[in-house]
């Protein structure tokens, strides 16, 4: 029973929470918080259960729920997951739950905040599970306006600007995607019914038989339009400029969600849609993708080095890290794909950790100026310890999961783009440089009297951080389960796009 509708349960449990929160009196803050906690906890547990009972060995889609939705256009309510989406779902569940506790000290309009938050969680789950292109788009867009409000109302001083910037950027990308979706629709035929379809799986199969559209340039245009839509989310240079603003202004929890989940959707879209549906174009433009990945890695790292705002630095480090994902995807090799997906997952965990850590210090010091601290390690040893661990994970230190992803991307891509990989490898130097530099400025040196008696990281914050730390460590030393989960699906994908 449960496992028949497992995915729907995961998607819509937060929605139930959303309704409940709306029904609650606005002054019962505790109720609202705990409702949010419970209704994100349930889907998290369910997503773990999902992992427990799914059978990764066949790379196909599982837990499929397929119902006709709008028969006039052959639109379906079609959910299903495979090895590629499963880690993303788990990541969403985990961060979705933990971020509730990072939102504990939201200080105004709790009801609205948590309602929108739960809506956002539902949308995120939906994106990773929907196998109907139209449904996918609905969920994809459904993330926009909650995010707009969450940044715009509860964000930092420049929140209005950041919010609308995020909104316009993302919408600009997704409307282009919409055109492509419709184009796919009209060039598709469901073999069983002979009608047009939004069914991604059917589209994949059709793409396998041969290109959708004869005209080369239309295919290229479609691919590029799709790519822009996803590239804005990733974000790929030069579409990245919304990210630092959005991250810096967003409240901690939302930064975590942004970096941990939303950024993944771009790459996920590439793997789930662009590559399988336009494989020839994917191959044709792979080199360009690789170059963009290279730019992301090196450029992001260098710009991060220049930042004085703690959050902004991490935002740019995200740009740099997602570059690895792009590079890995562009390699079109099994190892590269595994590395990319691993990197996606890690980035979610580790960058999530970093934003939580920034939140901790921001709540205490009420600023994020890297030069404004100094010697904090004296006052907050535990905090300093966890931060150093997160930094090390982020700069790809072996033994933590970050390393696995990056090195696999390199190993996989080298044979395809040796030069690009070599240049990207300089990224490891710059990354180390800016993280250690930041660490030195914030934590090391003579203790800054101004922060004498600053409170050490508290239990709630630890509760949000420890799970992520453990995961980062675990996958650092034993990533095999991850590869067993994603491997088959990735080799399927590789069969579609591989050289």
């Amino acid at each position: 029973m449960l496992s028949n509708y497992l995915l729907s349960w995961i998607v819509f449990t937060p929605m139930i929470g959303f309704v409940l929160v709306l029904l609650m009196p606005r002054d019962k803050v505790a109720w609202i918080r705990w409702t949010a906690a419970v209704f994100t906890f349930i889907p998290m547990i369910l997503s773990f259960y999902l992992y427990a009972i799914m059978n990764p060995s066949d790379g196909g889609f599982q837990f499929i729920e397929k119902y006709s939705w709008i028969s006039a256009f052959n639109i379906q309510y079609y959910l299903g997951i495979d090895g590629i989406s499963a880690p993303m779902v788990i990541l969403t569940g985990l961060l979705g739950f933990l971020s509730v506790f990072a939102s504990w000290n939201i200080n105004k309009a709790h009801k609205a905040y948590f309602a929108l938050y739960l809506l956002l969680v539902t949308a995120m789950f939906g994106v990773f599970m929907s196998l109907d292109f139209f449904l996918f788009y609905i969920f994809w867009e459904l993330m926009l306006f909650p995010m707009y409000f969450l940044i715009g109302i509860w964000g930092g001083p420049r929140r209005e600007y950041a919010a609308i910037k995020f909104f316009l950027y993302t919408l600009a990308g997704s409307v282009l995607m919409l055109v492509v979706i419709l184009a796919f629709y009209f060039n598709s035929t469901d073999p069983s019914t002979g009608r047009h379809t939004f069914d991604i799986v059917t589209l994949m199969n059709q793409a396998n038989q041969g290109p959708f559209i004869k005209e080369f340039w239309i295919r290229l245009a479609m691919y590029i339009a799709l790519f822009i839509g996803f590239a804005i989310k990733v974000p790929v240079f030069p579409f990245h400029t919304w990210l630092p603003d959005a991250h810096v202004e967003a409240p901690t929890a939302i930064s975590v969600i942004l970096a941990g989940v939303l950024l993944k959707m771009g790459a996920y879209g590439l793997m789930r849609i662009s590559f399988p549906l336009l494989p020839d174009m994917a191959r044709y433009t792979a080199i360009g993708l690789a170059i963009l990945g290279l730019i992301n890695i090196v450029y992001g790292a260098l710009v991060a080095m220049a930042q004085t705002d703690f959050k902004k630095m991490i935002a740019y480090s995200s740009v740099s890290h997602m570059g690895f994902v792009i590079l890995g995807l562009s390699s079109m090799t099994f190892i590269g794909f595994n590395g990319a997906l691993m990197q996606m997952f890690n980035h979610g965990i580790i960058t999530g950790m970093l934003f939580l850590l920034v939140g901790v210090i921001y709540d205490r010091a009420h600023h994020r100026d890297l030069n404004g601290f100094g010697g904090l390690a004296t006052y907050m040893p535990i905090y300093a310890g966890i931060t150093s661990l997160a930094f090390m994970g982020s700069l790809g230190l072996p033994g933590l999961s970050g390393f696995i992803g990056e090195i696999l991307v390199f190993l996989g891509s080298f044979k395809v783009y040796p030069v690009i990989v070599i240049i990207s490898a300089t990224g490891v130097i710059f990354t180390a440089a800016y993280f250690l530099w930041a660490y030195q400025r914030v934590f090391l040196g003579a203790a800054n009297e101004k922060y004498k008696g600053i409170a050490e990281i508290n239990g709630r914050e630890l509760f949000t951080l420890i799970p992520l730390v453990l995961i980062a460590l675990f996958f650092g030393v034993y990533p095999v389960p991850f590869f067993n989960l994603v491997g088959p699906s990735l080799s399927k994908l590789l069969m579609m796009v591989g050289h």
Binding site: I164, A433, N484
Partner: protein, 665 residues
């Protein structure tokens, strides 16, 4: 039996590290000591057992692999967490865990009363784990894990007293410089991995797999791989051009300098080259480069050592120079000799550092040898052991350094990859070494005390926990060399024989004649004694001579004193360059791409309000083309809406006319 417990050797210290780091704060010092020293000593015991087990086997079977679990598994690409035990790794684990235990013990005394006591031992244990992992690993990738791990611990321990920002800076410098090396290392094994994979279809980084299919890789690629891997080594083992971090690394506690920056970590590069010998022998050019770099480093580091006044700085440069010798050894193909020197050096350099530590301890933190002198009376044990160490490093016959260094110089002379030039540089290095070490000893322990009397009365011999390690190491430095007595003495070289299987694949050095060996030995002994003599004359007999010399060779002196201005050069051009670049790019990012050419101040106030935001969005990356037009157009078209109905009508009629013309044309 022991085959299946190899993994305990690295993991025991790891457990120790974990316990001390997580709950060490709560534990009493005694418990911390037991955990830390106990764990590393246990690994030492296990290492000994391993050694015994290994020698019990016939020579050709002295190699087995302990697979713990599959680490990365991607279809054909498999990396196991597996440990390779063969003579080479056995020697290494013996050195690491052995010297490691001694230095852990020493630290108990040295770090006594430090407020982060448990954390110190946690880091130290963590280092031991990483180092043992490095030397035991059965695959380059796993070795890289250890490689990075020791780097991390070195960073953490250099900056252990982070309250002083210089220490933190030194740590960061070490890590980043090492990262530059790692860049080379990564590229190296990526290339190797890909070359072999594309040739054979087996994608692996295990030594075995590489070794078996190394022959089919073209020499050119092997040379590049060799060089790139060596770049990594120059970072880790402080060779030209990346040696600059090591002297600064002395900011860490002295036992750390002894363990990490003298005995073990810095020798990782040497170990790596020896481990990859099967690759390097196929890439002679790479070997030549290594030998040359090693020789140059050996010489130049020694010259800098001549004029340093910080006791630990002198030892640091001597370490750099000694590492140069090791690279000469492995570079000329005498891998055994290189490893042999690695071992002896581990003994006497650890001894010297610990000795210096004991001195600093006694001098209550003073490190400038110009403010010392005459300590011999007050610190008998320290002095005695330090002297032994000095004799060992200067290569006085009979002491450990003599045999190993001599072996290297001899091999350098006869090897096709070495030659007279390398040998000559090495020799001069030896001479300089003898000079500055003697200088160091004299200035520190003899002559009249030059410290202010307040410190003078606090000078006292160190506690047992510190002196015992000194004695142990002194003994080793004295006798350790006899393990590898060259054939010239009519005995066969036990050490070389033991390592034989590992380097079996390697080429054989040409048989030099006995007479030549004796001659060279004589020359180097001569060099050593002349170095000692000159130093004695300068600093014990004719005291004002050094100043005079410095005066007469002013420029040379200042250049040496400022270490050839290498740091300044790097700071100005490399670091400065990167800093400029990042500023430029971030300006580009906020300026061109994010369209805030007019700097943040103006934006700051504008961005608060929405229209300002839109202006920004307008000049903002992807949407600017649309946006800019939109706003201005909005303003313009709005003007058309004059409010006069007849204007509207004109507009309408003109519009209709246009539409008419559209087809009439």
């Amino acid at each position: 039996m022991i085959e299946h417990y190899i993994w305990l050797i690295p993991f025991l210290p790891l457990i120790g590290a974990a316990t001390n780091l997580l709950i060490g704060k709560k534990l009493p010092h005694a418990a911390v000591n037991i955990i830390a020293v106990g764990s590393i000593s246990l690994s030492f015991v296990l290492s000994v057992i391993t050694y015994v087990h290994l020698v019990s086997l016939p020579a050709e079977q002295r190699q087995f692999v302990d697979v713990v679990y599959p680490w990365i598994g991607l279809g054909s690409f498999q990396v196991n967490l597996s440990f390779l035990v063969d003579p080479l790794s056995t020697v290494m684990i013996l050195i690491v865990s052995g010297v490691g235990s001694v230095i852990h013990l020493y630290s108990v005394g040295y770090m006594h009363g430090d407020k982060r006591y448990s954390r110190y031992f946690g880091f130290l244990n963590l280092f031991a784990f990483a180092m043992l992992l490095l030397v035991l690993s059965n695959s380059i990738l796993l070795m890289f894990v250890g490689w990075e791990g020791v780097g991390l611990c070195s960073y953490l321990l250099i900056g252990f007293w982070f309250e002083k920002i210089e220490n933190a800076r030194a740590g960061m410098k070490a890590f980043v410089v090492n990262r530059i090396g790692d860049f080379g290392f990564i590229v190296g094994f990526l290339l190797l991995f890909t070359a072999i994979g594309m040739k054979t279809g087996t994608w692996s980084l295990d030594y075995g797999a590489i070794k078996s299919s190394i022959n089919i890789v073209p020499t050119a690629i092997l040379t590049i791989v060799g060089i790139m891997l060596f770049v990594g080594a120059t970072g880790k083992s402080a060779q030209i051009p990346l040696y600059i971090w090591l002297p600064d690394a002395m900011a860490g506690p002295t036992p750390v300098s002894a363990l990490i920056h003298a005995a073990t970590m810095v020798t990782a590069g040497v170990y790596m080259v020896a481990r990859m010998n099967f690759l390097y022998v196929l890439a002679p050019d790479a070997l030549r480069l290594i030998a040359i770099v090693g020789a140059l480093t050996a010489f130049f580091a020694a010259t800098i050592g001549l004029v340093q006044n910080d006791i630990k700085k002198v030892l640091a440069y001597s370490t750099v120079s000694q590492l140069g010798y090791m690279f000469i050894g492995v570079g000329v193909g005498a891998f055994g000799a290189g490893i042999f020197h690695l071992m002896t050096h581990a003994f006497f350099k650890a001894l010297l550092f610990l000795g210096s530590g004991s001195v600093i301890h006694a001098m209550s933190g003073e490190q400038d040898i110009r403010k010392m002198g005459g300590l011999a009376k007050k610190l008998p044990i320290t002095t005695a052991t330090f002297l032994i160490g000095t004799l060992a490093i200067t290569g006085v016959p009979g002491f450990a350094g003599f045999f190993s260094k001599d072996d290297i110089l001899y091999s350098a002379y006869i090897s096709p990859y070495g030659g007279k030039f390398i040998w000559l540089l090495g020799l001069m290095g030896a001479l300089l070494t003898a000079f500055y070490m003697t200088r160091l000893v004299i200035l520190t322990f003899f002559g009249k005390p030059r410290m202010d009397h307040h410190t003078a009365e606090h000078v006292h011999e160190s506690p047992k926990t510190m002196t015992i390690p000194l004695i142990i190491l002194a003994v080793l430095s004295a006798v350790g060399g006899y393990l590898g007595m060259p054939g010239a003495f009519g005995v066969h070289n036990v050490f070389a024989q033991f390592l034989e299987p590992v380097f079996a694949s390697g080429f054989k050095l040409p048989e030099g004649s006995l007479s030549l060996e004796w001659i060279l030995m004589g020359i180097s002994v001569l060099a050593a004694f002349s170095g000692i003599g000159v130093a004695y004359y300068f600093y014990a007999v004719n005291m004002e001579l050094p100043a005079k010399t410095a005066e007469s060779f002013k420029t040379a002196y200042t250049w040496l004193l400022n270490k050839y201005y290498v740091d300044e050069f790097y700071l100005k051009y490399v670091v400065g360059g990167v800093m400029k670049l990042k500023d430029l790019l971030s300006l580009f990012d906020s300026g061109i791409i994010d369209g805030a050419v007019n700097g943040t101040a103006k934006l700051g106030k504008k961005l608060s309000d929405f229209d300002g935001a839109f202006d920004r969005i307008v000049v903002d990356g992807a949407v600017n083309a649309v946006g800019d037009g939109v706003v201005s157009a909005g303003g313009v078209l709005r003007k058309l809406q004059t409010g006069l109905v007849q204007n509207y009508l004109i507009f309408a009629i003109v519009g209709i006319a246009l539409l008419l013309s559209f087809v009439l044309l």
